[in-house]
Symmetry: C2
Subunit: 443 residues, 2 copies
Amino acid sequence: MEFLTGVKQKEVLEIGALLLPEMVGREVKVNGAVHAIRDMGTIAFVVLRKREGLVQCVYEPGKADFSLKELREGGAVEVSGVLAASEKAPGGVEIRMRAVVILSEPVQAMPIPISKWKMNISLETSLDLRPVSLRNIRERAKFRIQDGIVRGFRDFLVTQGFTEIHTPKIGARGAEGGANIFRLDYFHRPAVLAQSPQFYKQMMVGVFDRVFETAPVFRAEKHNTKRHLNEYTSLDFEMGYIDGFEDIMAMETGVLQNIMGLLKKEYSRELAILDIELPDTEKIPCVRFDEAKRLASEKYGRPIRNPYDLEPEEESLIGRYFKEEYGSDFVFVTHYPSKKRPFYAMDDPGDPAFTLSFDCLFKGMEITTGGQRIHDYHMLLEKMAKRGMTEEGMEHYLMAFKYGMPPHGGLGIGLERLTMKLVGEDNVRETTLFPRDLSRLEP
Amino acid sequence: MEFLTGVKQKEVLEIGALLLPEMVGREVKVNGAVHAIRDMGTIAFVVLRKREGLVQCVYEPGKADFSLKELREGGAVEVSGVLAASEKAPGGVEIRMRAVVILSEPVQAMPIPISKWKMNISLETSLDLRPVSLRNIRERAKFRIQDGIVRGFRDFLVTQGFTEIHTPKIGARGAEGGANIFRLDYFHRPAVLAQSPQFYKQMMVGVFDRVFETAPVFRAEKHNTKRHLNEYTSLDFEMGYIDGFEDIMAMETGVLQNIMGLLKKEYSRELAILDIELPDTEKIPCVRFDEAKRLASEKYGRPIRNPYDLEPEEESLIGRYFKEEYGSDFVFVTHYPSKKRPFYAMDDPGDPAFTLSFDCLFKGMEITTGGQRIHDYHMLLEKMAKRGMTEEGMEHYLMAFKYGMPPHGGLGIGLERLTMKLVGEDNVRETTLFPRDLSRLEP
């Protein structure tokens, strides 16, 4: 009988191992994709693309037992040769090629110059050719940063006693109301796709006190903008036993601090590739909605058109104000008008026209919506009645409150938006592996 | 201007802090849900439910400045009192109550005895009352174990150089074929819900070499069984530059070892509550499909009815065989028949009627399907043609191969099934927070 005992060390080396000083001069074996071949006549450079970065190999006729013609960009190969120091090569080392094993071959030449630093192709082309355009080093780095953001989010919440939950995306009704809801046939019953895990995460506060979920949500928005997607990844958390909604903002600040710390520590390669300067998250200013509007209006001379709404341009000016006045890329804007928030938002007892809720703006764009929720059953029914909502279809949600729920609140962070602002893009599709919008259902 | 600077220490204590030896005799403040009130006449026990477990509080009339009648099961409270040693209390300490602040009150008494060790309610009732039935300590513990499984999966893959991806759940076509696909209207275009992230994770191997995703998948299975859900969480990974499909089984073994290690280290409380003995994952036997069938058939006298299929009862007997003969709860069954696997499975060059693929059985049930995939463009087209498939709608998937893909493979683990078998349940709904099946779309 054969047995599997776990992951074994392989003979082929990863980049981390190649960079150890004692490796120079040794015979090494490395695999990777042929990212670029640069034939200089007397010698040629063969650049391998590996998950950790690029490896430069040098081909010199007569020193290798194969012909350069055997290699094709896009192929997967295993290269053997001697590791040599080379100041100009990535990581300061290169492999003098001796032999190669072709693991796999492409059938066509690359349709776009993925080995260039910037490909200079349109977003449309980049999205149409996603399986290959992402092979570009800069494109790929954005999604490594995204990987770090999600890790930083989860890791921090785990240290704070949160439990990860997995809630259904198919349901009988939406949590957020409104028209932007996808409908489907569920065994001849009408069903919808989840606009958010809102109801479920609140119910689970009654079970685990603190919960989070990182999962897709679906919004049938009928307009194409640079900041909206019809499917996106929502980083959600919800926590009980709060003293106030400040506890939620404090938790998000901790999350953001942990994300930036993790990126700095473990994603320096990608930060360098994308030339990202991490934002300061040591202290994040916090300002009331109406005050934020006033400050931005006064400083930039833009009249307040609607005291109950925050237009994208106003968000942008508020972001600019707090960058200029306080040096902060982030700002919490609190006390959103009650009529702009869902029924479950807790109204400010001091002024029920406003809520104990907030948005977090990052470089002038909303990346988070959060706040305290109503935990009292009767108060919840009252608010629903005031909005003309019925209890029908809400029985399970209301059940949690009927049998007792602690004071609680939470938030949802749009992963693609946070990534977009962090890596300096201006269209959320740039930081979505396979975006879904009005016109795009593929790839 | 106010600023948020991160998470601040609160005056209220968590259970971890109560258990420090120096705390006995001190005045403490603790919040939680009133899990049970046991009035013994002269004194009463008030048990608080917190995320880390239960805390026993003792109420003695005259020693507290409130009446026991003010407390209701299901309410959320903040208790003040003196911490005392108590052999019989959970953790060996109890709080002698002095004062209480009511944070929130229920409006009805609990409909099920959530504070009992076993509630003795039907699965149907438990699912109908999910927001409260999960407040039972044993119910909740199953999902803490599930939380640990997902952490153990991800954490291990991160150490192995994997990148987390988020792929779309709405698409133009399914990856796995067959009839079990949910359809929806996407802005007047036909669309489907993802049966698996298969195509996307393969495409992303060309970008990141190693990727994983933990996300919902959707299967419109038209039969109700104890092992099927219409929506479940799939733990997927896919890795390039493999030497063979053994590399994938080795990686899964590493994943399972890490999961069990993490559970042992950080989830001992839940393991004890559920009386779980963790399975040994040091070495996992690996047997060919046909050989596994033969061994089980010979030992248990069950004739092989179909040499190309594995019935649930056969899976169960194979699991039993390897437990009895090798003491292993896990077994890899390899070389599944080609006609039972999707087109993208790599056929065994030595015998193309079988594939370089495997299932992992855990206690006699399939929890994983994986294998090597075809990476050669022409071979893929050939296999598709042989199955009567057209390239239409597959252009983006095929694009990845056209421009070069390394040898690769991967797997998908059904989270709810793995949890079910680990905690000793026999219906996958028991280990799903909010299951979706033919008849259940709520809560």
